[in-house]
């Protein structure tokens, strides 16, 4: 992995803590994601990875801690405002809109740019029409990039699982986010589809997108990540370059001590 | 003193309606806890209770001691049927669809009652005579005493049911985690039907008890049911003690408000309280924050 010229940290998480009832899902978690790099967030099941993503995107309110993105503090912001800052995400269990078409799903990914004036929408102003055309083109391009063009008019619920995973990716990617949070993008995919996603991730990284990747598939993590953060039981137990982390005895113990799934 | 007697009068009247609201509120809570929906047919269970009691007492000239349990059992059966025929077969688990289904079923029940018993108000004989008793200077209808007795008895039975019987525990398990309940072998669909039957019994009992002192019409349950719902929200939707607290509180507030402010707007009070609670503290007096 060559060192990127711009090694600045675009996301700084520190002291992130979240309890559910009495249970600590996250305890003083901190890490850094560098601009234009892929930072992987790994750890056994229940380590708090998705909770971390949920806090970053405003779905959950952390009890303590700070998350600074590009100089902006994220804690306390509602999800739609965080999205408008240029942060997009995918969901582990897929949250597509099954009754909307594939194209409409991707267009929803552009909600932040679609304007939010009801009046403008009711009157269908020329500005809105112009914007709609532009958004539609961007959506079609994204469908093309993710190999879903042929199924643009299909209801999203009718897609095969692999296609759904890629649709979820396309929807997150289409808005040209500065930070893309992927929650287990290859879970349940076969090796061929996994490689397809890996190619897309590398493509996005080349395009300058900063990615935070939550994954269990160690091969994928090792092959695409610049930086790896390891969580276990809500705490950060290791952080560093992929090769170093994989040899870290603490990390091995965390994984061997529990049942973990690797592709 | 006159004004103390008035006050006491309002309190008795408020507690009486409050007990009814509490029972309806528990009925709402039971279905909400096991199925996650607001069951609109609950309001018709109340009307049906009154109707079946009327049918038993006047139509079949049964003695009250037979007519009342028969009415309650009848509504319980109706509740089970509603779930079995109406909801079980729904292809969609979408909450919006289920709510609309209960609305449709509610219309059917109401329409059926209207056809069978007509649109006009009916007079249901009270359980034990109409001469008011005097208590501490205020008058108390004997029916009100029956309402208190039955409500207390019902609450006691429900507490025993939910704590000590397998059926009750099964219901609590399904309410808490239907997937886990299914995994450990509980027949979730059966529990749901049972909870509808229980909701029916509660609504039917409330209707059978209150309609001798309120008027009985095919749609009497709508207003009562709405207030029962407001009581449930006030106390904390889905909470058993909340339903009781909410019911009694609502009854008292309504009665005192109607007595001291204006009786024409009595029905508005329940709705205003409903809105106020939703605005300020949606989880109600006894509910936990963060739940909906």
């Amino acid at each position: 992995m060559a060192m990127a010229a711009n090694d600045t940290a675009i996301l700084r998480v520190s002291g992130l803590t979240k309890h559910f009832g009495g249970l600590p899902a996250l305890s003083e978690v901190g890490f850094v994601a560098r601009k234009g790099q892929v930072t992987a967030l790994i750890g056994p099941n229940g380590a708090g990875k998705t909770t971390c993503i949920d806090c970053l995107t405003g779905l959950l309110r952390a009890d303590r801690g700070s998350m600074v993105f590009d100089g902006r503090e994220l804690s306390g912001l509602p999800p739609h405002r965080i999205a408008r800052l240029g942060i997009a995400r995918t969901f582990q269990n897929l949250r597509l809109y099954p009754r909307l078409s594939v194209l409409e799903n991707v267009l929803c990914g552009l909600s932040a740019q679609a304007g939010d004036s009801f009046l403008e929408a009711f009157l269908r102003t020329p500005a809105l029409r112009h914007r709609e055309r532009r958004l539609r083109l961007a959506a079609l391009e994204a469908l093309d990039t993710f190999g879903l063009s042929a199924k643009a008019d299909w209801p999203a619920g009718a897609l095969a699982y692999g296609d759904k995973k890629r649709l979820e990716l396309a929807r997150a990617f289409v808005s040209g986010p500065q930070l893309l949070l992927l929650d287990e993008p290859v879970a349940g995919l076969n090796p061929e589809e996994t490689e397809r996603v890996a190619v897309l991730i590398r493509q996005m990284r080349r395009g300058g997108v900063t990615l935070v990747l939550v994954e269990h598939d160690m091969d994928l993590v090792m092959s695409v990540s610049d930086h790896v953060v390891v969580l276990d039981g809500g705490r950060r137990i290791a952080e560093g370059a992929p090769e170093d982390v994989r040899r870290n005895p603490l990390v091995l113990e965390a994984y061997l001590g529990k049942m973990s799934v690797t592709a | 003193m006159g004004s103390f007697q008035d006050f006491l009068q309002f309190v008795f009247s408020g507690l009486t309606s409050g007990a009814i609201y509490a029972m309806v509120a528990i009925g709402f809570g039971v279905v909400h806890n096991t199925m996650g929906i607001v069951n609109f047919t609950q309001v018709d269970f109340v009307s049906l209770g009154g109707m079946l009691l009327y049918g038993g007492l006047v139509g079949a000239t049964l003695p009250a001691i037979m007519a009342l349990p028969a009415a309650v059992a009848g509504v319980a059966l109706a509740g089970a049927l509603v779930e079995l025929v109406g909801l079980r077969s729904s292809r969609s688990r979408d909450h919006l669809v289920l709510i609309l289904l209960t609305i449709g079923l509610s219309i059917i029940l109401r329409g059926a009652m209207q056809r069978i018993w007509g649109k006009n108000p009916l007079a249901v004989p009270p359980l034990s005579g109409e001469r008011p008793l005097r208590l501490l200077g205020a008058s108390l209808l004997p029916q009100a005493v029956w309402i208190f007795l039955f409500t207390a008895l019902t609450i006691g039975l429900l507490v025993w049911f939910f704590r000590r019987t397998t059926a009750g525990l099964a219901m609590r398990a399904v309410a808490s985690n239907p997937t886990a309940a299914a995994v450990v072998g509980l027949r979730v669909p059966r529990v749901r039907t049972a909870s509808f039957a229980l909701a029916g019994a509660l609504g039917g009992l409330a209707g059978a008890l209150v309609t001798p002192i309120a008027t009985l019409r095919y749609d009497v349950g709508v207003l009562l049911g709405l207030k029962g719902f407001a009581a449930a929200i006030l106390g904390g939707f889905g909470s058993f003690p909340g339903a009781i607290v909410g019911g009694l509180t609502l009854g008292l507030l309504e009665s005192l408000g109607a007595g001291y402010l204006s009786s024409a707007w009595k029905d508005t009070i329940a709705f205003l309280i409903l809105l106020l609670v939703l605005f300020v503290r949606p989880h109600g007096l006894l509910g936990k924050a963060g739940g909906a």
């Binding site: 929803c108 | 292809r91 709705f271």
Partner: protein, 333 residues
């Protein structure tokens, strides 16, 4: 203009062309239909259609539920009636003022209740309907009580009045076409997509940047305003209004129109409004069972085609059309 160019134009502007086509067809109807009673039924369908369109935005698109829209309908009717009779206000001004009042009422009702799940909104709107209906019946000094208000003048704008069935037809169906155009515009915009997204999955929609709370509140208010305008036009059309028209059964009828037509299908709302308005006349001897039949229809549709008749069939047609189109033209979308 070659056939290919014409086809491309038609495809790009298919919505606008459909609206224009329907408008032309509707404009011609009174020329062929002289029977005032039949026109009257059509006019009533028009009133219901305006409400159903607004309600569909809220229930069908945004996936919420309201059992109280007859209250907004009634407020529009009584508002306009009172302002034009007791205060001799011109009908258009009265309609606008009433609509503003209704919008504020909807905001006041929606802000606290739309925060929570649909069940609470359903009951709150039901309660709202009961209270408003009570208001119409009890406040007889202002509303005329159970016998309602009479002597409401026909609608007029700048001296042009709309008395009689034929003129009312053009006024009402003109309103329907305007409402339909506004709604179609909304659903084809980013805001409209946001509503559809939040109906499917609020969490996901918020993560995409949709302001869920604001969307719900605005669409609720918009649907209330549609109902209010329909109410105003209704009051001027009939000249007489009574509280009975605005009770909870009416609210359920309105919901039924949306469900039958298809939740989310605007064209379907027109069909739904037509069906429910005409149904009592079709029932004949069964009219006494009207409520039960309504309930059975609602339950039947929900059990078999949860998304409603028109929407489900249109949805299936859309997929088949899309695949067929790709096969024909060799183009993907």
């Amino acid at each position: 203009m070659t056939a290919q160019r014409a086809a491309a134009f038609a495809e790009r502007h298919h919505t606008g062309l459909a609206v224009v086509g329907l408008s032309l067809a509707l404009a011609l109807v009174p020329l062929f239909l002289a029977n005032p009673w039949k026109l009257g039924v059509l006019n009533l369908i028009g009133v219901h259609a305006v409400i159903a369109l607004g309600l569909n935005l809220f229930v069908g698109y945004a996936g919420q539920i309201s059992l109280g829209h007859a209250a907004f309908f009634g407020l529009g009717a009584y508002g306009s009636a009172i302002l034009t009779t007791a205060f001799a206000m011109p009908p258009l001004a009265a309609m606008v003022l009433t609509a503003v009042g209704v919008a504020l009422t909807a905001l006041l009702l929606g802000v606290p209740t739309l925060r929570l799940t649909g069940h609470y909104l359903a009951m709150a709107t039901l309660g709202f309907n009961i209270v408003v209906h009570n208001l119409f019946v009890q406040w007889d000094r202002v509303t005329g009580g159970p016998s309602g208000l009479t002597g409401i003048p026909p609608f007029s704008v700048l001296g042009v009045a709309f008395p009689g069935e034929v003129r009312a037809y053009y006024l009402l169906w003109g309103a329907v076409m305007i409402a339909l155009t506004l709604c179609l515009n909304l659903v084809r915009s980013g805001v409209g997509r946001g509503l559809a997204a939040l109906a499917e999955d609020e969490v996901s929609a918020a993560a995409m940047g949709v302001n869920v709370r604001r969307g719900k509140i605005v669409v609720f208010t918009v649907s209330a305003v549609f109902a209010s305008v329909a109410g105003s036009l209704f009051a001027h059309y009939l000249g007489t209004i009574t509280p009975d028209t605005f009770g909870i059964f009416a609210s359920i009828d309105l919901l039924l129109m949306v469900v039958i037509g298809g939740m989310g299908s605007l064209w379907g709302s027109l069909a739904g409004a037509a069906f429910i308005t005409v149904l009592p006349h079709l029932l004949g001897p069964l009219e006494a069972y009207k409520e039960i039949i309504h309930g059975l229809i609602l339950v039947g549709i929900l059990l078999v085609l949860p998304r409603g008749l028109v929407a489900d069939m249109a949805g299936l047609a859309r997929v088949r059309l899309a695949r067929g189109w790709s096969a024909l033209t060799g183009r993907p979308a």
